[in-house]
Symmetry: D3
Subunit: 331 residues, 6 copies
Amino acid sequence: MSDNQLSAFYQRQDILGESYNPAQALRFTEVPTFMRTPMVSNLHGVDIGIIGVPYDGGLTCRTGARYGPREVRNQSSLMRAINVATGCRPFELARVGDLGDVRFRDIFSLDRAIDDIERYFVAIADTQVLPLAVGGDHSVTYPILKAMARRYNTPLGLLHIDAHTDTWPAFAGSKFHHGAPFRLATDEGLIDPDRTVQIGIRGGQNFADGLDYSRDHGMRVITIEEFDDLGWKAVAQEARRLVGDAPTYLTFDVDGLDPVFTPGTGTPEAGGITMREAQRLLREFHSVNLIGGDVVEVSPPLDPSGVTALNAATILFEMLCVLVEAFRRVG
Amino acid sequence: MSDNQLSAFYQRQDILGESYNPAQALRFTEVPTFMRTPMVSNLHGVDIGIIGVPYDGGLTCRTGARYGPREVRNQSSLMRAINVATGCRPFELARVGDLGDVRFRDIFSLDRAIDDIERYFVAIADTQVLPLAVGGDHSVTYPILKAMARRYNTPLGLLHIDAHTDTWPAFAGSKFHHGAPFRLATDEGLIDPDRTVQIGIRGGQNFADGLDYSRDHGMRVITIEEFDDLGWKAVAQEARRLVGDAPTYLTFDVDGLDPVFTPGTGTPEAGGITMREAQRLLREFHSVNLIGGDVVEVSPPLDPSGVTALNAATILFEMLCVLVEAFRRVG
Amino acid sequence: MSDNQLSAFYQRQDILGESYNPAQALRFTEVPTFMRTPMVSNLHGVDIGIIGVPYDGGLTCRTGARYGPREVRNQSSLMRAINVATGCRPFELARVGDLGDVRFRDIFSLDRAIDDIERYFVAIADTQVLPLAVGGDHSVTYPILKAMARRYNTPLGLLHIDAHTDTWPAFAGSKFHHGAPFRLATDEGLIDPDRTVQIGIRGGQNFADGLDYSRDHGMRVITIEEFDDLGWKAVAQEARRLVGDAPTYLTFDVDGLDPVFTPGTGTPEAGGITMREAQRLLREFHSVNLIGGDVVEVSPPLDPSGVTALNAATILFEMLCVLVEAFRRVG
Amino acid sequence: MSDNQLSAFYQRQDILGESYNPAQALRFTEVPTFMRTPMVSNLHGVDIGIIGVPYDGGLTCRTGARYGPREVRNQSSLMRAINVATGCRPFELARVGDLGDVRFRDIFSLDRAIDDIERYFVAIADTQVLPLAVGGDHSVTYPILKAMARRYNTPLGLLHIDAHTDTWPAFAGSKFHHGAPFRLATDEGLIDPDRTVQIGIRGGQNFADGLDYSRDHGMRVITIEEFDDLGWKAVAQEARRLVGDAPTYLTFDVDGLDPVFTPGTGTPEAGGITMREAQRLLREFHSVNLIGGDVVEVSPPLDPSGVTALNAATILFEMLCVLVEAFRRVG
Amino acid sequence: MSDNQLSAFYQRQDILGESYNPAQALRFTEVPTFMRTPMVSNLHGVDIGIIGVPYDGGLTCRTGARYGPREVRNQSSLMRAINVATGCRPFELARVGDLGDVRFRDIFSLDRAIDDIERYFVAIADTQVLPLAVGGDHSVTYPILKAMARRYNTPLGLLHIDAHTDTWPAFAGSKFHHGAPFRLATDEGLIDPDRTVQIGIRGGQNFADGLDYSRDHGMRVITIEEFDDLGWKAVAQEARRLVGDAPTYLTFDVDGLDPVFTPGTGTPEAGGITMREAQRLLREFHSVNLIGGDVVEVSPPLDPSGVTALNAATILFEMLCVLVEAFRRVG
Amino acid sequence: MSDNQLSAFYQRQDILGESYNPAQALRFTEVPTFMRTPMVSNLHGVDIGIIGVPYDGGLTCRTGARYGPREVRNQSSLMRAINVATGCRPFELARVGDLGDVRFRDIFSLDRAIDDIERYFVAIADTQVLPLAVGGDHSVTYPILKAMARRYNTPLGLLHIDAHTDTWPAFAGSKFHHGAPFRLATDEGLIDPDRTVQIGIRGGQNFADGLDYSRDHGMRVITIEEFDDLGWKAVAQEARRLVGDAPTYLTFDVDGLDPVFTPGTGTPEAGGITMREAQRLLREFHSVNLIGGDVVEVSPPLDPSGVTALNAATILFEMLCVLVEAFRRVG
C-alpha cells in the first residue's frame, strides 16, 4: 500500500470541507476513537482493527470493566505516531482502524454474552485483519481465542501478562468467568500449553487448583518473584524461545502491573510489574509471530486519577507497535 | 418483650469480657453491621431483619451496586437511636438485626441469581420477621415481592420512589432486569397496580412502553413535576389513601433522589427529589400497613464523597422508623 | 422528511454488516458522540448540529473547560429518545447530528482563537442548520453570536442563564474573555439588550461595571433572589414576553446552577438555580423563536463524580427539545 | 478612616516594587490568605480580624477539620469586593485582616488546647477588633465565647446554625468536645439561653439529653422541619426578635447545611439547609448587634470537589458583610 | 488442633441454617472482618488475634488514621487462603480471629487513650494469643510494647519499617505521640536497642534529635539509600542476624512505603520502599521469633483510590504468614 | 551572615506579639508559603528566592498548571529543615524567601505573558538572588533563561529532567509553547547545547523534529531506557561532566517522573523515573555551578490524592539543597 493510500485512510473531513488527520489534532479535541484512528465498519479496508469488548459480566470481584473501552479510547488520545523508544511508526505501516464495540444481544447471561463475542471475532477471523481487543474483563479472551485458533487451524502460542493464571475451574455457577479463560482454551485445544508463558503471577488464592493446572499442563509460570530476579530481558528471551515461530496471541491483564499503575482494576494484587518493565518486555516481542492481542480489566470507576486507562492505552500502543511488525512480515 | 430483653439483644461482649452496645460506641469503631445492630443468623430471634442483597447483574448501564450493602453498612454507623424529627426510637421498640447478605450460588446468570434471592426471602417470609433489604440493583425487588406476596397470600400495595417506573419489557436478552421488576410483579399478581404509587418519575426513555404499562394497568404515576407542584405532603396523603390498609411494600430506588444527593447510582436522572422532601414524605407512611421494604441502586465506586451511601443509610433509618410502627401495631 | 428517511439518518453499520441505531444501544458501548447521534461533516444533511468548542483560553480563574465537549459527549449517552416530562421526541422530528469540534489553528492567543470559532459558525450560518454548541468557556459565545446575528441580519434576542452578567470590560489584557461576550455583542449590535434576559445573577464582583452595563443598556437582570421570590414559571413568562417573536439565542452557563449541581466549573457561585427549576424553566421556551444555543463552562477535571457533565448533558437535551420545536415551526 | 487609608491597608508590594491589591489580582495567584486580605500581627491596625483555629481534637466522629482554615483560605480567593445581592462592600467599610492561626502549645489534650484558643481570643477581646473565626471543630467556639463574654461583661445572644444543638454532656472522657460548647457556655453564663436561637436541628441522637437541655433552658430550637415550614424569612425575623439589641455572636456549623453542600464535614446529617436559604437568612442579620462569629467543621480530606470549602468561604463572606454593618454602627 | 477443629472455627451459619466459610465467599459480600475471619470475644478460642486500634490522637500532621481499621478490614476481603509466593496457608495452621477494636473510654487526651490501649493488650498478653494490631497512628505501638514486654519479661527485639525513626522527644505538649513510641520504649526497657532495626528511614527533620537518639542507643538505622544500595535480601539478612532468636516485635508504618503505594497516610515521605521489596523483605522474617506486630498510619480519607488500604491489608497478610510460622514453632 | 541574622530572617510575630519560626510550627497551620519561608518583596534581603509562575497558557493538552504554585506551596509544608539523606540544612546556610507570584498583565496571549515573566526574572537577575521557580507549564522556562543568560553573559549549561525534549517548532499558532523552550533558548544562544543534558526522554511523538533538533545541536539525550540501563549514578556523573564548571540551570518537568508519581500533570508519559532515582540523581548535582532552577507542570485539578504536588515539593526541596551549596561556594 502506498504512503498516499495510507495517508488517505487516516483523513477525515471537517464541516468546512477541510481534510485533516484527527490523530494530529489537538489532543483535547475530537470524538475519542482508539488513538484517534478512523471508525471503520468494512473489515476489508483495514489491516489492524482495534475493537472494544465492553463486557464485565465475568467478574467475581469489583466491576466496572464494561467502561474500559470508553476510557481507554479517551486516554489513548495521548498516544502519538512515533514510538520514541523503538522508532516504530505503526500508522505509516498499516491501516489501523477502530472497529467499534462488540454489540451484545444478551448481557445478563455470561454464556450467551460469550457467544456474542465469538460471533464478532469469527467475522474478523474470516478476514486478514489482525485484532487488538480492549476489554472488558478477562472472560472475553476465551471467545476471541476460539475464533482465532480456528482461523489458524492450530493451537496458538500465548504470551500472557497477569497476576493470575486464569486457569481456574467453574466458580459461582459458571465455567466461563474472568479467572478461567486459559483453562477452557487449553481443554479445547485453542492454545498450546507448552507454548504458553504466564508472567507476573502472584498474590493469594483460595485453592491451588489453577496454579496446579497451569504447571501440570506444561505452561511456563513466571511468578513476580522470578521476574524480579531474572529481569525483563531474560524473561522476554525465554518467552520468545518458548512460543517459537508459530502463531501467538498476546493477552495483557492490567492487574499484572502493580496496583499503583492500575488502581482501577477488578482484582488488584500488590507487588506487580512496573510500566517501565512492561514496556521493555513487550518491545522484545517484535519478532514473535503475533496474530492478535488484548488489554483487559480496566475499570474506570475505580480509577480516580485516570492513570489506569492511561497505562492501558500505552500498553495498547506498545502492542500495536509489535503487532504491526508481524503484520509487515506477513502482509 | 421487656426493655431488658431488648437491651440484652443489642449487647455484645468485648475481649475484656465487658458487655456493651456497639450502636452506642464511637462511630469510627466497630465492624460495620447495618446501624451497628447485631449479626443474627437465627430468624426467630429478631423482629426486623436488615439484609444485604449484593447483586448488580441486572444493570443495563453503570455497575457497582454489588458494593451497596457494604458501603451502606459503613455509612449507617452515622445513624443513631432517636429520630429527632419524629421522636421514634426504633431500637427500643423491636429487635432489629443484621441478617448478613444473600449468598449467591450463581452470579453469572440473572435468572438463577434471582432464584438465589427468592430462596432467602422465602425463608424470611416463613417467619414473622419484617425484612428491610439493601441492594444491589432494582432487579432484586422482584424475587423479594415473590416471597412476600406468597406470605400474605394477596397482591401487595406498593409505595415506589424512583426516577423510573421499572415496568419495562424484556431487554438485552432477559425479562429480569433492573427496569422490569414491577411489570413482572404485576403480571404475576404479586402487587396490585391499583394500590401502586410511583413517585418521582422523570428523565428520558427510548420507548413509551414502560410508562404506558404503568398507566394502563392503573398505577398512579406521580412525575417529579407533579410532585413539585403538589408538594410532599399532598403526595403522601394521596399515596396513603391509594394503598389503603392492606399489606404494602415500600421500595426506594435512590435514583428517585436528585443526582446531587446520589451521584453514586447506575442510572441517574437530573432534577429529582431532595432528601428533605424524601424524609418528610417517608415519615407520613408511619400509618401504612408496611410489611417490608428496600433501598436499592447504591453504587459506591461512583460515589467519591460517600454522600450517596450516607443518604441511603438515612433513608434506611427513616424506613426502619415507619416499619417499626407497623411492627408494633401487629406484633 | 419521512420517518424512514429520519430513521436511516440515525443508522450505523457494525462490522457484521448489521444496521442499528447507536442511540438505542447499551449505554456503556459506542464511541461517545453527542447523544450518540451520527458524526456528520456535510452540513446539508442535518437539521440541528451539535458542535463542540473545546477552548478555555478565555478563563480568568479555574481552567479545564477545553475538556467540556468530550465529557458532555460521554455523559450524554445517558440521554434517550423521549422527554418524559413533555413527550417531545426530538430525533423523530429532526436530523440531529454531531458536527465534531471546532478545529483551532491557534490556541495561544484568545483573539485569534475567536476567529477560528467564528469561521466555523459562519459556515453553519450559511446553511439552514440550527447550532447547539458545547463549550468551552463563555468567551466562545461571542463569535457564535457574530455569525448568527449576520445570518438573521438583526440583533438577536438572548435568553441567558448564568451566575454572571458577562458584560464586563477588558481584563488581564483582552476585551475578549469569558466575562465579556454580551458586552461585546451589545456594543456590536449582535444582540438586542431590550430583548436580553439574564437569569440567576449573583455572587461577588470586584467592580459594579458589568451589572451597571447590563442594566443601563436595558437588559433584564433577574438575580437569584428575584428568581427565588418569583419562581421559575413567572420568570419564564416574563422572559418569553421580553424576547418576543424575533430570533432568539439561548445561552446556558452551567455556573448559573448551584455549585452542588456543577462543582466542575470555572467560577462557581454559591446559592444558584436547581436542576429541577432549570429544566422546568427551559421547557417554557418551547414557543420562543429559538435559532440556536449553547451550554458552556463544564470543566471535567474539577468534577470528580461526573455530575456536572451529566447535568450539562441534560440541559443540552432539554435545549434540543425546545429547539426542535422551533425547527418544526420553521422547517 | 479615609478611603485612602483603607486602600493603603489592602496594598502589598511585589518584588518589582509595584504596589497592588492582592484581592484584585488573578484568582489563581497569590498566597491564599482569607479573601486575600493582608496578614496582620498588630491587632491595633485592623477592624475585623479573620483567624484560623486549626484544631480538630474535639471530634467524636470523622476528623480533618484541622485543615479547614487552610482550605477555606484557598477557596476564599473566589470571593470578591461587592456582595451583588446586598450591595455591601465590606473592604471599603473596614480594615479586614488575616490574623493567622491560633498557635497551639498542646494539641494532644483537648482541655489544654482550649486554653490555647482562649489565650488568643482574650488578646483579641482586649482590643476593638471583631473576630471572625474559621475552625476547626465546634469545640473551638467555647473558648471564643469565654473571651467574648468577658469583653462585653454580659451573657451574649447566640445565632446558631447547625444540625445539632451542641448542648450535650461529657462524652468519651471530656466535657469539652464538639457537641458540648453551648451547654458549657450556658452553664458558665457566657451565653443567654433566652437569646439563643438554634436553626436547622435534625438527624439522630443516642440520647435526648442535649435537645432537652436546650429546650429546658429556654433556647429556641428551630428544627429543619420547622424551618422548612416557616421559610428563611420568618425564621430570620423571629431570630432577630429573640436576640434583640444586645451583643450577639453568630456561629455557623457547616453541617447545618445539607450534606450535598458540605460533604466535607465530620458529622453530616441528611436533609439540611440549602445555600440559597442560608445566604438569605444570614443577610437578614445585618441589623443585629453582632460582635463576632465563626464558621466551623470544614474537613477538606472529606471534600473531593472542594464544594464544602467554597460554601464555607461564601458563608464567611456573608458573615463578614453583616458583621461590617455592625462595626460601622459602632465604630 | 485437628483440621476439623480448624475448619469449624472458620464456619459461620447463614439465615438458611447453612454453614459456610465467609473467607471463601464472594469477595463483595459479607460484613468485613479482618480477612473475613470470625469475630471472637473469647481470647482462649484463638491463636492469632487481629485487633483494630482506631485512634489517631497522636498525629502531628494529617489525621484520619482512626478509620484505618475499618478500611483495612474492608480491603482485606481481597486476601485469600494461600500465599502464592511462599505456599503458606495461615488459616490451616492457626485459628486467626478478629478481636474487634480497642474500645476507648477517653479519646480527647492522648495519655489516657494510651492507657485504654494498654488495658486491652495486657488482657491479650495474659493469654497465649499472638496479636496483630491495625492502627491508628504509630503512638499506639508504645502501649502494645508495654504489654508485650511484660509478657515475655524481657526487652523485645524490634523490626521496624518506617520513613521515620519515631524516637523523638516530647512535642506539642506530650511525650506520647506518633513520633515517639520507640524512644519511650527504649527508655523504659521495653525494647532492646541493640536488637532494633529501623528500615526505610528518610525525608526531612526539623531537629537531628531523633536520629541521633536511635544511633546513640545502638539501633541499626537503615536509610532508604542504604536499602537501595544493599537490596532487600541483604537488609533482611542483617536484620535477622541482629534480632537473633529472642522474642521480637514487627511494626510496619505504611509511610515506610513510597507515597505512591500509600498516598493515604499522615506524614508521607517521597522516595520509599516499593511493595515488591516490602513483601520480599517481610517473607524473610519467617524464621524470626515473632511475638506480634502491627500495621499503622493508614488514613482512608486521604486515599481516594483505596490503594493504601489494599497495600496495608497485603502487608497484614504477609505478616500473618510469618507470624503463623512462629506460632507453629512454639504452639 | 551570622546565625542570629539568619534566625531573625525566618521569624514571624503572632498576634500575641510572640516571635516564632513558622517552618517549625505544626504542619497543618500557617498560611502556606513555599516551605513556610517568609514572604519577601525586597530582593536585597534574600539569597534564594522561590517564586511562583502561575501560568498555563502554553499547554497543548491538559490544563491546570496555573494552580501549581498554590498547591506546591500547600504541600511544601511537609518539608523540614534537615535533609536526612545528605545532612544539608539549607535554612541555616542562606536566607530563603517566598517572592510571591509573577503578576501577569496579560494572560490571554502567550507571547505577552512571556514578557510578563521575563520582566520579573530580569529584576531578579539584576540582583544576587538565585531563583527557584515553580510553574506553571514549561513555556515559562524560556523567559527565565532569557533573564538568567543575560545576567551571566554566557549561554548556560542545562540539566533537564523531562519526558520530552521540549525542542519542538511552532505549534497551534505560536513558537512559544510548553514543548518549545529549549529550541528557542538554543536558537537565541541562551543555553549551550553541548552543555545540555536531557534525562528521562520517552513516549510518543507525532514528528521526529524535536528529538532530531536536540541531537543535531549536540544535546545529550538520555532516554528512559538508557537511564534504566546506566542507573542514576552513571547518568549523574556524565551529566556533571558535560555541564562542567560554568553556570548551569536545572529544570525539572514533573512528567519526567512516572505518572504514578505525578498523575497531576499535563502530558504524562508512562514508564518514567521513580522518585527514589530522581532524588539520588539530583543530590549528585551539589557540585554543579547551579544558578537557578524550576519545577514545572504540576496540575492540581488532575491530582486527586495530592501526590504530584507532594513529590514536586520534595523535588523543590532537593533542588534547594543543591542550590544552597552553590550559593555558599559563591556567596
